[in-house]
Symmetry: C2
Subunit: 313 residues, 2 copies
């Protein structure tokens, strides 16, 4: 049994990770500033003897004693991270420095949640971990992309110089229950639009692609990575790729009785045109690959959205 | 007459900038932690009523009142910035945040010294400012390259969000008096080797290229950029390109009586293969281009090194 810190543990991915770790019998401490996270995501653990929830912003130093750190705190979707770009960068630079400093002091292993966005708008396809990426350092997404890139750089600098044990997960698009309804991302937008019979909004030509992974697959990958001896970055994502046009049709077919039309809107700036993980490394070193099909996963997400809509009305 | 802060003002470039600004009659405040800088570089101003030297590390907040900030503090050469990668990143992230926070509070215009290293090992040639770069986020140079990239990102985030007036100079290889004798860079190594009749060390095949700018040209460019209304990044460098083999011959011919042989050593990791600035933007918006020829500039640098060797013996 370990004492495990999950930063951003009240968020979408973090709360599923907390569920997993609690069920394994660990002591879990969540640190969150509730910028995009919600108490409700972890409310089923409040009062449990192994669980603690700390309201804290990681841009400030944190003094606690732990064995392991899953460092997930960061806004994650474009509308959230663009809301306050300065804060996004501070969280990923100063915040990550604090968590690495903590890991160093207490000699804890730390896993950093990086992202496929470090590859930017990729020129090679699919993306393997050796690809250096194609990121606009002063574009609208830069606060997140460059913030995460330098968070990786920091991690390996602490590993080399301070002997901190780091693990780096490059997470690709993930969906599932507890994802944000109004973060403007494609999965949430399309499901909401289909459920409410509004037209489905496609930005640009709809031929850009993404690969969507169900959240419990990701959690399995994060835990496998933390417990492995492999120290270089590892892609965690589902290699099954769809273009956005197809994806709109898939959602319509899953949401019973959806009658939405398709509406094409202007493309967004610097929108990556293709994205698919090469997961050879994860297969080889973690013996990991996604298990949940898009159909199964999306049905669970749709179910969650249905309940949330009911709840809020 | 303005009150001007120069961070890293006791360093190579900073001290030349200080000379220029002092001669223009401004009040100049230098902030430096003397990691690579030296009091001696600015000693001729100590005691002057317009000059102040503050021993301070910009990783800590700084409270002063100024009209303009030239933010140059950062280790700059590979052996210096690789000595303590964590500190290099902290200086470029936390340090830059502090200087942007200062600029914001006192409403000062701030110029950020960025670098051609944001282009990494470039795939397009010459490099124009619209190129996104090719940088290894976890390579040995990443602490500097990614640190500078995110420093740019931070600058534009503060510009957009906090209305800070920022200027960004992407500086290409620069040389001249007061450059570091033992920083392992090509100009200093070759001059020292030629002056001491040691063999000239070429890393790799010697066909990699660089373009070298004399330091007073750079200072003119920095001042022009600070005073212009142009807000996007601007390359400041000399577009005349040489490969390292040629460069070795040039140095040998300038150092009278040099009798050095050439010694080929293994290539260094992630060494950029070609680098030359496209300076169309600087010409158009700043009416700037380099004036000092390589021959004239190198003679001054060689003279400086000769005196320094005498002095230290
Ligand atoms: N969901 C995805 O598709 C995806 C893809 C790639 C990477 N990631 C990464 O995974 C991590 C989790 O993402 P998510 O989808 O769960 O997002 P989320 O927004 O649901 O969770 C992030 C959590 O971090 C918290 N947080 C943000 N800034 C903080 C700060 N300064 N101090 C303390 N807490 C702070 C938020 O309140 C939230 O609870 C993030 O680091 C994200 O970059 C997610
Ligand atoms: N010289 C070049 O060829 C070149 C090329 C590209 C960019 N640049 C940039 O220009 C700037 C100046 O470079 P330089 O060649 O004069 O290098 P330098 O090492 O001579 O000067 C840097 C100065 O910053 C100071 N410094 C470093 N970290 C500090 C900290 N945390 N707090 C306070 N002071 C600190 C050093 O003591 C030094 O005086 C740097 O930002 C560098 O990245 C230089
Ligand atoms: O238990 C700890 C230890 C360190 N830090 C912070 O982590 C950062 C980096 O720590 P490090 O040991 O690298 O550096 P230093 O304290 O020397 O700046 C510092 O700002 C600390 O405040 C923290 O939040 N908790
Ligand atoms: O209502 C929407 C939301 C998103 N997208 C597109 O879907 C893709 C995925 O966008 P998302 O914001 O979900 O994630 P990211 O770009 O970070 O992968 C991008 O090409 C978006 O332009 C879309 O067509 N309609
Ligand atoms: O005169 C100043 C004003 C701010 N800062 C530092 O600059 C950083 C960023 O300032 P900002 O105003 O963006 O943010 P905040 O103070 O809200 O973190 C902070 O850490 C401050 O300590 C500084 O060093 N000098
Ligand atoms: O003694 C030396 C020092 C450097 N170089 C090469 O010269 C180029 C410029 O190196 P420097 O460290 O001066 O600067 P940067 O790589 O940052 O441009 C690189 O290709 C180095 O491999 C070399 O051949 N011999």
């Amino acid at each position: 049994r370990k004492r495990i810190l999950v930063t951003g543990g009240a968020g979408f991915v973090g709360s599923h990770l907390v569920d997993y770790l609690m069920k394994e019998g660990h002591e879990v401490i969540v640190v969150d500033n509730f910028f995009t996270g919600r108490k409700r995501n972890v409310e089923h653990w409040i009062g449990h003897g192994n669980f603690e929830l700390i309201h804290h912003d990681i841009v400030n130093p944190l003094l606690i004693e732990v064995d392991e750190i899953y460092h997930l705190a960061s806004p994650a979707s474009p509308p959230h991270y663009m809301l306050n770009p300065v804060k996004t960068i501070k969280t990923n630079t100063v915040g990550t420095i604090n968590m690495l400093g903590l890991a160093r002091r207490v000699n804890a292993r730390i896993l950093i949640a990086s992202t496929s966005e470090v590859y930017g708008d990729p020129e090679i396809h699919p993306q393997s971990e050796s690809y250096w990426g194609h990121v606009n350092p002063i574009g609208p997404r830069a606060c997140y992309d460059e913030g995460k890139r330098v968070a990786e750089t920091l991690s390996y600098a602490y590993a080399k110089q301070e002997k901190v044990q780091v693990r780096v997960a490059r997470i690709f698009n993930t969906y599932g229950p507890r994802m944000h309804m109004n973060d403007g991302r494609v999965v949430s937008n399309f499901i909401l639009q289909a459920l409410q019979n509004e037209s489905i909004t496609i930005y640009g030509h709809g031929k850009q692609t993404r690969s969507f992974q169900y959240v419990t697959d990701l959690v399995d990958g994060l835990v496998a990575l933390m417990n492995s001896s492999y120290t270089l970055p590892i892609n965690l994502g589902n290699p099954i790729e769809h273009n956005i046009d197809e994806f709109a049709q898939i959602i319509k077919s899953i949401v019973n009785g959806a009658d939405s039309s398709i509406r094409y809107l202007p493309a967004v700036e610097d929108d990556p045109q293709r994205r698919r993980p090469d997961i050879t490394r994860a297969k080889k070193y973690l013996n990991w690959e996604p298990k949940v099909s898009l159909d199964t996963g999306l049905r669970k997400a749709v179910e969650y959205f249905r309940r949330e809509i009911l709840r809020s009305s």
